[in-house]
């Protein structure tokens, strides 16, 4: 597979790891947060912690849109799925996320709701054409990576004149979250030295989107691809920035990411979506201007307008340490519930839900080595 396998080369990985080892300054710790769940997953999946020098401490960020979706929104999706005539569709990741009372969309499905896993939102539009007497609601989640697809699907549904296609919009914005993560502290971001920036979010929004955060909090950011060599190279770049006390936004993933991102994708997003005043992120709390809603012009496709939903309260498990884990302030394995009451089969908190959540990644790939490390 061209442009994939080359970036998994074991010899090059060792060279890079050595280069990192040579680059780190003696006695210094580099606390680097990968914002993206995809990066967290890749780090564990390829066993990178075992390659890196002890001086590099990876912190796992909040960048998994499945994990940070509040319970209340999951409850509302389950409620929508139960309405007569509704087919609720979403990406596979969302279906087993528990809402209140540990209920998931998969359970609602088992109880009789028509819930379908789709590979693409396009398939939901097609379904709406095929089943005009059913209401097809797409439970749309994701960061800026996934948002353009939702925008295009809504535009397609409009062009087709569909009146039975709806989007339950839960698209989130990453720069706002990054800002909130750092701001929400008396000493902003004191526990983080630098960031590995999102790969595919950046593909859409560009590297420029991170300049403000980097400058305001004086943290270097390196946008990186999801392959192990990408990650290692980005770590090396961060170490070098930190050594030379720079705090630029650099782009390791420049084979795909442009400074200004994909303008066309941004245009489609701007055409269809507007900013919500605020949105309650799971684990991170309410963040202003951090999420998108459908513009009034597309109200007829907006599930929230078409199907009035009661406001709900999210009740989190009291023992769950997710807020600290999501901010990189606590190791997953340090949560008292980790692997005891909280497992991927029975997640109690945000970080255990998706395979890309920090706790899930540690559970699946790293819990034994990590124990040794503790």
């Amino acid at each position: 597979m061209k442009y994939i396998e080359e970036f998994r080369d074991a010899a090059l990985a060792r060279t890079l790891a050595q280069a990192i080892g040579q680059a780190v300054e003696p006695g210094r710790t580099y606390r680097l947060m990968e914002f993206c769940g995809g990066h967290t997953h890749a780090i564990y999946r390829y066993g990178l912690p075992g390659l890196l020098p002890k001086a590099i401490k990876m912190l796992h960020g909040p960048g998994c849109p499945v994990c940070v979706l509040p319970i209340a929104r999951v409850d509302q999706a389950i409620e929508l799925a139960g309405r007569p005539g509704v087919i609720l569709c979403s990406y596979g990741d969302m279906l087993r996320v528990p809402g209140s009372d540990r209920r998931t969309l998969l359970q609602a499905k088992a109880e009789g709701a028509d819930v379908r896993m789709l590979y693409s939102i396009d398939d939901a539009v097609t379904l709406a054409r095929q089943l005009p007497q059913r209401a097809i609601i797409f439970f749309a989640i994701g960061f800026e990576t996934t948002t353009p697809a939702t925008a295009l699907a809504i535009l397609r549904a409009q062009k087709l004149g569909l009146s039975n296609f709806f989007v339950f919009c839960n698209h989130l914005l990453t720069p706002a979250a990054l800002d909130a993560l750092l701001a929400d502290s008396p000493n902003p971001g004191s526990w983080i030295d630098g960031f590995i920036g999102p790969a595919h979010v950046s593909t859409v929004i560009g590297t420029a989107a991170y300049q403000q955060v980097a400058r305001r909090y004086r943290k270097p950011i390196v946008i990186a691809g999801f392959e192990p060599l990408d990650l290692l190279q980005a770590i090396l770049m961060l170490v070098r920035q930190l050594n030379s006390q720079r705090c630029a936004v650099e782009n390791q993933y420049h084979r795909v990411v442009r400074p200004n991102g994909n303008r066309l994708a941004q245009d489609y997003m701007a055409q269809v979506f507007c900013l919500r005043a605020s949105f309650a992120w799971r684990g991170l709390g309410t963040i202003a201007a951090s999420a998108l809603a459908l513009r009034p012009a597309f109200a007829s496709f907006d599930a929230e307008r078409h199907f009035p939903l009661a406001d709900r309260l999210s009740r989190e498990h009291p023992g769950c340490a997710c807020p600290a884990v999501l901010r990189g302030q606590l190791d997953p394995a340090a949560c008292q519930l980790f692997a005891v009451a909280c497992t991927p089969a029975n997640p109690l908190g945000a970080c255990m839900i998706s395979a890309e959540g920090a706790c899930a990644a540690v559970y699946a790939y790293g819990r034994q080595p990590l124990r040794e490390a503790l």
């Binding site: 769940g37 849109p65 070098r240 420049h254 066309l264 994708a265």
Partner: protein, 93 residues
């Protein structure tokens, strides 16, 4: 969730669609976000949509730099300290 992978465009279809290949696997995707894409080019695929074109020169640059560091012998003239910084061109040929 933000999983996306490079795939080569092997057939352009109607309605903003294209057939792409990853290794031996073929899939139809939406290319409305990369309308300028040409046959043979690589795109990044995410939830059935091509998000962006992949710049093969930039990819080669990255790899060349890594090999260079590995072989301790330059494969290209270039040998910047900062392997791929902000000054990099963002235009695809």
């Amino acid at each position: 969730m933000c999983l996306a992978i490079p795939a080569q465009v092997c057939e352009l279809l109607a309605d903003d669609r294209a057939r792409v290949r990853v290794g031996d696997v073929l899939k139809t995707v939406n290319i409305a976000l990369v309308p300028q894409v040409r046959l043979g080019e690589f795109v990044i695929i995410h939830v059935g949509y091509a998000l962006e074109r992949l710049d093969p020169l930039a990819a080669e640059q990255t790899l060349a730099l890594l090999h260079e560091a590995s072989d301790l012998q330059p494969r290209r003239a270039e040998s910047a300290n900062d392997p791929n910084g902000q000054e990099r061109t963002d235009e695809i040929h």
